[in-house]
Every structure is written in C-alpha cells, then in structure tokens.
Assembly symmetry: C2
Homo-oligomer: 144 residues x 2
DNA sequence: CGAATCTATCTGCTTAAACGGATATAAGAA
DNA sequence: TTCTTATATCCGTTTAAGCAGATAGATTCG
C-alpha cells in the first residue's frame, strides 16, 4: 500500500481535501460533513469511501451514525503527507471557512447527541433550532 | 493556479512522478526520458505536456530537441510539494533505478551533443552504440 | 529544396471515476 | 414489527484521461 501515486489520487479531488482537512480537527459523521460541505449524501459518502479505501481514514459506527476520523498511526509516506496538508493547507480560505462552518454545525449538535435527545430537540423545540438555522438548506423538513 | 487538487492530479500518475524525480537532477530531452522510462514517445510526450500544463515544468528548444526542466522558482505550494518529493521519494527503489539508468543514458550522449556529431555517431560508428545498446528496445533502427 | 529526426498532437478506443437520483441496508424508536 | 433516520451502494450517464499507433510540424543537414 506504499503506492505513492495512489495517495495523490486520493488527494486529487477538492472534496476529499476538504473532508480530510475537516477530519484533522476530529471525527465527524457523514451528516455533519454533508451540512458543512453542502453536498448531497451520495457524493459525500462516495468520497469518504474513497478515502477509506485509500487507507487515509477509518470509520466507526456510533448508533445510527458512522463517524470518520484520520487513521492513526498512518504509514510513513501517508503520515508525512497528512502532516504536510495540516501545515500547508490549514491557512487557506476554503479550509478556514469549512472549519468555521463545522463549528457552527457541531454547536447545533444534531448528530453527536444520543439519538433520542436529538430527535426530540429537532422536532419538539423549534426555539433552539431557529437560532442555528442559518445555512440549513432544506436538508431536514422543519415539521412533518 | 493555486488549485491544490490540480497539483495532486499532476502527481497522481507513476509515470509523471518518475519524470519529475528525474528532472530534479537536471534537464532532459524527451528522447532521454523515453530511453530511461522505456515507454513509447507519445506516452512520454503526453505526460510531459500534462506536467507542463500543470505549471510544474517548462521546456526549451535546443535544436531539434525539447529539453524539459523543473520550473523555477515554483509558486508557494507547488515548490513545497516538489521539495517534499525530493526529500521523501528519492530514496525509493524505482527512483534510484531511474536515476542510475539516466546516467547510463546520458553517458551515451545521443541527445546532448550537437546534432551533426550525434547523427554521425549513431549511423557511422556502430562500435560505441553496441557498447551501450543494452535496454534499447528497437527504438532506433540500427542501420537503414 | 528534400530527407531525416525529434516531438506534439490527432485518432479511435478503453477505463476510472465523477455525478445525482433511487434504492437497499442497518440501527434505534415506537 | 413497523417507522424513521443515517449511510452505503446501485444505476445510468458523463467526463477526464489513460493507451498505442498514425500523422503532422519543427528543425537541421545535405
């Protein structure tokens, strides 16, 4: 799996770079990624799968959710590249924007909390939801 | 042109990595690259063109030949990546092998010398050619 | 000029992988 | 079990780019 070209293939899509940079800040579930990236689920899942198959990230199931995170420890050259990315890309505009949005998304805690709590918050109290509704592009029907 | 994903696309083929690593040792013409890589001319040219269009290398004409070399100075992120490649890949088996073969190829000086000299050497004295014929896969008809 | 050589590009074909939408699967809640 | 949610995967389509072989352009030599 020391195929360097394969590492670069994995890094050669902006979407995957964005996902990787987000994961350098901690693990995230697919729905959080969808919310941050504002991309359809199949697209996010596809790219996450690619990164997983390339040996860059791993996933673990947490209830209904899959949480993805950087594989640690990474093998030699892959590790060097990820360090490189952290160092060189974290200052770029798009990376900063994504991290900022990630914090907003996580503040809403739609995914991280136990399912029961989440479910009730989302449908029951519209107050907290309204406060953080900015950027929600109809991903979740308000009340139905 | 600070599209990071595009940099990684350029690096995501083994053939292009090999070319780049060779060029870290100095400029080379296409026919030398063909000899080292043992690949057809259209393939070498195609990958060289890709690297050129991605802003990693440049070419200059020297008589009949095109010599390619790493673009200097490279822009920020590209430069960092090339430095990274030099540091991390130069010890790999395939990279060492290619450099070694490059030195053999250049020792024959089929390309670097002025065309007239080259032409006469190649067709006139078969002695020098025979000494370095190893690895020549019918690329050049011996006498026709 | 014509011949030879080096390189770039075109041709037709093939493959990898992108995409969005639909569907299947897995797990918790009711 | 049935419903809902989260995620993975399948579908048909599209695009980028791989390939080898053929051809065209550039340059130098005679």
């Amino acid at each position: 799996m020391e195929d360097i070209a394969q590492i670069y293939k994995a890094l050669s899509e902006q979407m995957r770079l964005r996902i990787l940079m987000l994961l350098t800040h901690g693990e995230l579930c697919v729905c959080d990624l969808m919310a941050v990236l504002e991309e359809p689920q199949s697209k996010v899942s596809r790219h996450v799968a690619y990164l997983k198959n390339s040996g860059l990230i791993k996933g673990r199931r947490v209830g209904t959710w899959m949480h993805y995170f950087l594989k640690e420890p990474l093998e030699g050259l892959v590790a060097a590249h990820v360090e490189f990315l952290k160092r060189e890309l974290s200052g770029l505009d798009w990376a900063r924007d994504d991290v900022e949005k990630m914090k907003e998304v996580q503040a809403k805690k739609l995914c991280e909390a136990p399912p029961s709590v989440t479910r009730k918050r989302a449908s029951g109290t519209t107050g907290t939801a309204a406060a953080g509704m900015a950027g929600n592009k109809g991903k979740r029907k308000a009340n139905s």
